[in-house]
């Protein structure tokens, strides 16, 4: 077993995109054995679209359920993965994301939040059996939330591409994904559903890095310190993408070279990261970042960053960004 595959064994698994279903196909399943879970923001639309029994995510499923369609964000899709795979029953799981970014519909990863601590479970059984794209749901996402979700997609694609565990084939795939992303606005656009899924499936075959290490380590402390700020994973990934990529390329010559090797426009990518960055928000959380820096360093994502994150890197992240 190679060093890279050994490291992947403990952290990530090879992941392919689940087959894509159409809404029409999903509408013609057996109503006796098909159940739907829908998040609160889309429940009414789901009721109008599907004639299947619909319950609140997390509710028990009758024994006759053979297919579970879940419509929602990453948290709800992850709940459905656990219910479909860990209940001791054989339930087909079809995931329809109500927002892009988490990539839960395309990854074998489940992220649980235990009183603020992230419990990340990785197993091929958690890859849904199918997925679908519902383009109209894009219009229902609040614009600021949609923009942050775009940042989450960028963090997956860029960190997966740069990962020391990525091979040439994966880098080629993710560079194609990023070229597609560069053509999209950082806003409500249903094309993000597909590129977001591809970015997430790609990073699941390598790893993520410091952007995610920061997001995972700081989400809980920030929620506690700033309860009204609405901190969540995508917001953190959007915020940290620019300073982390600036730092990566400052300390590593190979950062720019890797992008050039795959004909990626470094200036355009950094412009996107800068557009997602909010200096006032960042400067306001630096004290919390500094307080929890050791947790950031110990986070598994940080340890597979494209460049070595030394304790002294805190000095860089303490600076005031213009």
């Amino acid at each position: 077993m190679s060093f890279e595959s050994s490291a992947r064994k403990v952290f990530v698994l090879k992941s392919e995109l689940p087959p894509l279903w159409t809404l029409q196909e999903l509408g013609s399943l057996d109503p006796e054995t098909t159940w739907v879970w829908a998040g609160p923001t889309v429940a009414a639309r789901v009721s109008a679209q599907f004639r299947y029994a619909q319950t609140t995510p997390g509710d028990p499923l009758p024994d006759r359920v053979a297919t579970l369609i879940v419509v929602g964000g990453g948290t709800i899709i992850d709940q459905a993965k656990l219910r479909a795979r860990d209940s001791g029953r054989s339930i087909r799981l079809i995931a329809i994301p109500s927002i892009w970014g988490s990539g839960a519909e395309a990854s074998p990863i489940v992220v649980l939040d235990h009183e603020g601590a992230k419990d990340i479970r990785i197993h091929s059984k958690y890859l849904p059996d199918g997925r679908a794209i519902w383009p109209e749901l894009a219009a229902s996402i609040p614009p600021a939330r949609a923009r942050e979700a775009c940042g989450d997609c960028w963090a997956h694609a860029l960190e997966g591409f740069l990962s020391p565990l990525a091979g040439d084939d994966l880098r080629q795939e993710l560079s194609d994904v990023m070229r597609s992303m560069l053509a999209l606005p950082l806003a409500n656009d249903p094309r993000w559903f597909e590129v977001g899924a591809r970015a997430c499936a790609g990073q699941a075959r390598s790893s993520v890095g410091l952007v995610h290490g920061l997001a995972h380590a700081l989400e809980s402390p920030l929620r506690a310190a700033q309860p009204s700020a609405g901190w969540h994973h995508a917001k953190l990934c959007s915020l940290f993408l620019y300073p982390v990529m600036q730092w990566n390329r400052t300390i590593s010559d190979s950062w720019s070279q890797k992008l050039a090797d795959y004909q990626l426009d470094e200036a355009a990518i950094m412009a996107v990261a800068r557009e997602l960055f909010n200096p006032q928000t960042y400067n306001g959380i630096v004290p919390i970042l500094a307080e929890h820096w050791r947790s950031v360093l110990l986070n598994p994502c940080t340890r597979t960053n494209s460049t070595l994150v030394r304790p002294s890197a805190l000095d860089y992240f303490r600076q005031t960004f213009p």
């Binding site: 077993m1 190679s2 060093f3 890279e4 050994s6 490291a7 064994k9 403990v10 952290f11 020391p164 565990l165 790893s207 300390i251 590593s252 050791r294 360093l297 110990l298 598994p300 340890r303 597979t304 960053n305 494209s306 460049t307 070595l308 994150v309 030394r310 304790p311 002294s312």
Partner: protein, 81 residues
């Protein structure tokens, strides 16, 4: 800075050691933070510090600080006081 000093600094940073904990005969079993993911960090750090990227087999064979010295010495990196 000598190569020994660079290696000492690298190991302390990768495994988040207290400088007083460092020894050149330190082994994997003695360090709580020495896991597969830390080996990824170590390989990345060896490349950026010494300019040589360990092969997968070499990285997997690293069980001690001495192993790092052995691998790098075979590639011509000199570790003299």
């Amino acid at each position: 800075m000598t190569n020994l000093e660079k290696l000492r600094e690298l190991v302390i940073d990768v495994f988040l050691l207290d400088p007083a904990e460092f020894r050149f005969d330190l082994t994997r079993e003695e360090v709580d933070t020495w896991d597969s993911l830390a080996l990824v960090s170590l390989a990345v750090g060896i490349k950026s510090t010494f300019g040589y990227h360990p092969t997968p087999a070499e990285a997997m064979s690293i069980h001690s600080v001495r192993d790092v010295i052995r691998i790098l010495s075979e590639k011509g990196v000199r570790f003299e006081e």
